[in-house]
């Protein structure tokens, strides 16, 4: 039932001080998501795919509302994604309660002011610290997780940020063709993940949820008496417009994280 494991991460900075500034943000995921076994060899790739795949015919389409957010966001830009996974997949296995099979996707809208990079944690974060952007390069040295901790970054140049939030949507997803083993009526069977009933490929499952899905689910969850939303502080690299100037940018950054049922209707 819950085997469509996808989380939308909405980053919506705004300035509470009403100062116009240039905000560039870095979000990165570590290869450590791929396995709790730090000696496991990992592999990864980067790509761009068209946004919004058509779902399979079982459900009728939901009418999508157009929401304007990041002004450079266009559906024709598609979805940029990092994909990473254990080279040796261990089906139905876990290390320290963390899965050892399936593929992880870390994705966002492929807007004009997006840069990306994969590499060691120090290289990726160092590039952003030095340049305010990533190098649009991919590390091809597939290696053990704990060998300079491969890291997958997206950096977005949001430009001026005022008291109106500018939203960027990210997706974190785990796709597993087979979800569980189940001792059913006639013994053990493997049970496929729910997304396989709606999408032909895992990339289709990842690239379809978008900001209008988030907003429609936001409306649904906001109608609950106790909100299922929670605000957390998140690690964001923020750099000042000039390297020698004291940082006077946005003083409040709020991230809303929601895990929602993202099946099409």
């Amino acid at each position: 039932m819950c085997s469509y494991t996808l989380t939308l991460l909405l980053v919506s900075p705004m300035s509470s001080t009403s100062l116009f500034t240039r905000l560039r943000s870095l979000l990165n995921l570590s290869i450590e998501w791929a396995s709790a076994d730090n000696s496991a060899i990992a592999q990864w790739e980067y790509g761009v795919a068209p946004g919004s795949a058509p779902a399979s015919t079982r459900r009728r389409s939901r009418r999508r509302r157009q929401i304007n957010n990041n002004t450079d966001s266009t559906s024709s830009g598609g979805i940029a994604y990092h994909k990473f996974y254990r080279q040796t997949q261990l089906l139905f296995s876990e290390t320290a309660d963390q899965t050892d099979f399936g593929s992880w996707y870390w994705a966002t809208d492929n807007v004009a002011k997006l840069t990306h990079q994969s590499g060691s944690d120090t290289d990726v974060r160092g590039a952003f610290s030095s340049n305010g952007a990533l190098a649009n390069t991919m590390d091809t040295n597939f290696r053990a997780i704990n060998n300079k901790y491969p890291t997958f970054g997206f950096a977005v140049d949001l430009g001026s940020v005022s008291s109106t939030p500018i939203s960027t949507l990210f997706t974190i997803g785990l796709t597993q063709e087979q979800a569980v083993q189940f001792d059913g009526a006639n013994g053990d069977v493997s049970v496929p993940s729910l997304w396989t009933s709606y999408y032909p490929t895992e990339l289709d499952a990842v690239r379809t949820p978008n900001i209008s899905s988030l907003h429609s689910h936001t409306l649904a969850t906001s109608q609950l008496p106790h909100s299922l939303w929670w605000q957390i502080s998140y690690y964001l690299n923020l750099i000042p417009p000039g390297s020698k100037r004291k940082y006077e940018g946005p003083s409040s950054v709020t991230l809303l994280i929601s895990t929602v049922n993202l099946l099409p209707h």
């Binding site: 876990e94 979800a179 189940f182 001792d183 059913g184 009526a185």
Partner: protein, 120 residues
């Protein structure tokens, strides 16, 4: 784990509760669980819901029998699905008979609050 959480399923969407109960019925109605009382879980460790053919899951006999009856009825009432009760009547009755025989003077056992230890 399902029982403490079931109010949220009943409140938001009773079908979600049914989806959680179905595998428990499928496994136990197949005869692959040997005990007269309801099982505690479908597998010791996710993602392997491979059952307990030896019946040696964490024993919460009275808790689980009671939980299954309460949740199944709650679902059927909310979803207006009495056919679900008919479909599973045989095993629901089995668990009811267990409660009749055992609940008045409980044996020493744990409840869903297993951290509290066994009580009689």
């Amino acid at each position: 784990m399902i029982f403490p959480s079931f109010p949220i399923w009943i409140y938001t969407n009773p079908t979600l509760l049914k989806l959680l109960l179905d595998p428990l019925f499928i496994n136990q109605e197949s005869g692959q669980y040997p005990n007269q009382y309801s099982m505690h879980d479908l597998g010791s460790h996710y993602p392997n819901a491979t059952g307990h053919a030896a019946g040696n899951d964490e024993p919460q006999p009275l808790e689980e029998c009671g939980n299954m009856l309460i949740m199944t009825l709650a679902y059927a009432q909310r979803a207006k699905d009495t056919a679900y009760l008919t479909q599973h009547y045989k095993i629901l009755n089995q668990w009811t008979q267990y409660l009749i025989a055992e609940a008045l003077i409980p044996a020493n056992q744990i409840s869903t609050d297993d951290f509290a230890g066994p009580l009689a």
